[in-house]
Symmetry: C2
Subunit: 396 residues, 2 copies
């Protein structure tokens, strides 16, 4: 669907200028009216008028005065954004837990809660959880700008329908519509990995960057793409399916692993379950029934188990190759690694760094997630700010 270009109306023009001014303030605060005018090439008069309106709304405040310039002259009045003039609520619905967050315009968390996901999560029970959380949050309702929701599956952003979230048993769920009816607030729904990428971009390892790739390694391997400062979603909401990469050309002929149907090739080689399974297979005697997870294998390696080391090494080669592939295709400024397995980054990162250095013609920074488990919920908040129309837009 083609994004409808907006017709230019005076009102739209005003909005553009408000946004521009607001962005400028956020980036350079504290800043005077005159300086804003110079930076934006909007006339001083207009800047003043728009600022007046924004001060009336409470978004912008006068905060002290600067010193006179070199030659003398009237001291400028400094302006700043009142970070507490608006709040966003973000939630990250995961297969095992749900994270709720409320934060202000600068990303300061004022309220947070983590609950374990109910076995079968119906809409009504979800809504009650949200209501309870919002009731307890120390934020007046009228200051709440909107709600962002990250869901583990394929989501259609433009109408907020969760097309498929196996771990929750959701299919074609019109989450945005239902939630907006219930809470009477704008709601934005997006894939959880994308949310994490937005979160890291706003407040974490990708702050200030416009080309960021976030890779989460856990049961599955996913990837959120921020290109030119915007989330890239692909033509069918299925971009970043890094777990389906083929990191071994031999697979073209030979791969046929029934255990991992539904998963991608790389996930079947480098994901958590794959590592656990490979290890058990290495032991020869047992089959997949002996339950074990990747974390155990990492621990075994730390204790000197060489089989564990070999298995992890093998898996990590796939991951490293995958990261190289992402890097050379996107040319990002930063690659952020997160997800459960990255808690053992000490064992994985060195090889990854070495591989990227060797195979990629350009070298991005490679960092570990800074926000950890909160990235998704914070990203959900970031998305609200990003999408919300004036006067909060462009905060990122």
């Amino acid at each position: 669907m083609r994004k409808q270009s907006v017709s230019g109306t005076p009102r739209e023009m005003k909005r553009m200028n408000q946004r521009l001014i607001l962005q400028t303030i956020r980036r350079k605060q504290p800043i005077s009216r005159t300086e804003i005018s110079e930076m934006t090439s909007i006339s001083r008069t207009t800047v003043s008028q728009l600022i007046d309106e924004m001060m009336e709304e409470g978004v912008v405040r006068e905060t002290g005065r600067g010193s006179s310039p070199t030659q003398g002259g009237r001291k400028p009045v400094f302006l700043s954004i009142d970070d507490d003039s608006g709040f966003v609520c973000g939630l990250d619905i995961g297969g095992s837990s749900i994270t709720f967050v409320v934060c202000n315009l600068s990303g300061k968390v004022v309220s947070k809660e983590v609950v374990s996901t109910p076995v079968s999560l119906g809409l009504e029970s979800l809504f009650r959880l949200i209501e309870r959380f919002l009731d307890n949050a120390p934020v007046p309702v009228e200051r709440l700008i909107g709600l962002g929701v990250g869901a583990p599956g394929i989501t259609r952003f433009h109408d907020g329908v969760v097309l498929s979230a196996p771990s929750l048993g959701w299919t074609d769920l019109p989450l945005k519509e239902e939630m907006e009816d219930r809470f009477n607030l704008p709601v934005y729904v997006e894939n959880d990995v994308n949310m994490a990428a937005l979160g890291e971009c706003w407040l974490g390892a990708g702050k200030g960057k416009r080309h960021v790739v976030m890779i989460t390694v856990g049961t599955g391997i996913g990837c959120g793409l921020i290109l030119n400062g915007d989330l890239y979603r692909g033509s069918r909401w299925a971009s970043g399916e890094i777990g389906f990469m083929v990191t071994d050309s031999h697979a073209v002929e030979h791969w046929d692993d029934p255990v991992f149907s539904g998963f991608g090739y790389m996930e079947s080689k480098a994901g958590g379950p794959a590592i656990a399974r490979q290890y058990l297979r290495g032991l020869k005697d047992t089959d997949g029934t002996l339950v074990s997870n990747a974390k155990d294998i990492f621990d075994l390696w730390r204790k000197g188990d060489e089989t564990a080391g070999a298995v992890i090494w093998e898996a990590n080669k796939h991951l490293a190759a995958g990261i190289v592939n992402v890097v050379v295709l996107f040319d990002p400024e930063v690659v952020i690694l997160g997800g459960g397995l990255m808690k053992s980054q000490d064992l994985l990162l060195p090889q990854i760094l070495k591989t990227v250095k060797r195979f990629a013609p350009i070298q991005p920074e490679i960092r570990i997630s800074q926000l950890g488990d909160d990235a998704g919920a914070l990203g959900a908040g970031a998305l609200v700010l990003k999408e919300h129309d004036c006067p909060y837009q462009g905060v990122l």
Copy 2:
């Protein structure tokens, strides 16, 4: 560098509306003023006024009238874009040949020339070639909107500097600046593969699509990315370096091929020279000195040479894996394959299709380039139209 957001002025507002109207006309022509007004939600008054101006400039023409609607009433006056009201010149500078093209707003070629690249291509000789071509083109100079140039190397679009084009011996060449001085026209410089992608998107296999990946397979393997209808360039003008993908996780430990230093891993496995070399190595007796190129190997396979078949098969596995990787990361609507090796598509395509079908969770269309060797030059023209400000913008 952050793209400066424009301040909203009345003039800018007008431009936006002109663009919107022009887009609407192009998509639905012939179309009446009233219908434009309804589609764009710009008032009839404004539509009329802007149309008047555009007719004065010659961009839009009245072309006949429609039939009266059901109930009777005045017949609408149909409007269309005059495709010959402007022309663009595109050139594709390759290592072995240079293609010149002049075409009108709808992409109809009115003049074309192909010359072989001089051994050492200096700016002055290039300019003379262009001048001669333009002089012979049946287009009045004042109708020429701009010049697009595709160069084989890394180009910095925003200031039009060719950072490095080894096959031409260019380094840090300020091509845009020099050319604009000389020809007194807007000039846009871009990587040749990106240009080809733009070309196919405008007039070829990607027409009307907004998410397109174009892969060219030749000596090197490159890739142009059209995401959300725009060229994606990466953070350091190095996106789409698909030739550097690692399509074999074993390489992480073992790859060390001095012959291909400077090339990427995948290029060293699936590029033209790689195929030729692998074949010769298969013969055991000869070494790399016996010159041969990929095309010969393809011909040998067609004649029943099994070694040739095996070598190509092996190379193609890497290519197929690479294509899967691109598909799952970008979720494009179409993947377009082009470049020298794709002239033997009959031998390569079946395996590629099968591999993508098997490994990718989503299925894009996979097509062969429609414009062939002209894609680059036409894309250079497309870029001019895309970048040129009102009233031609948004033609794509």
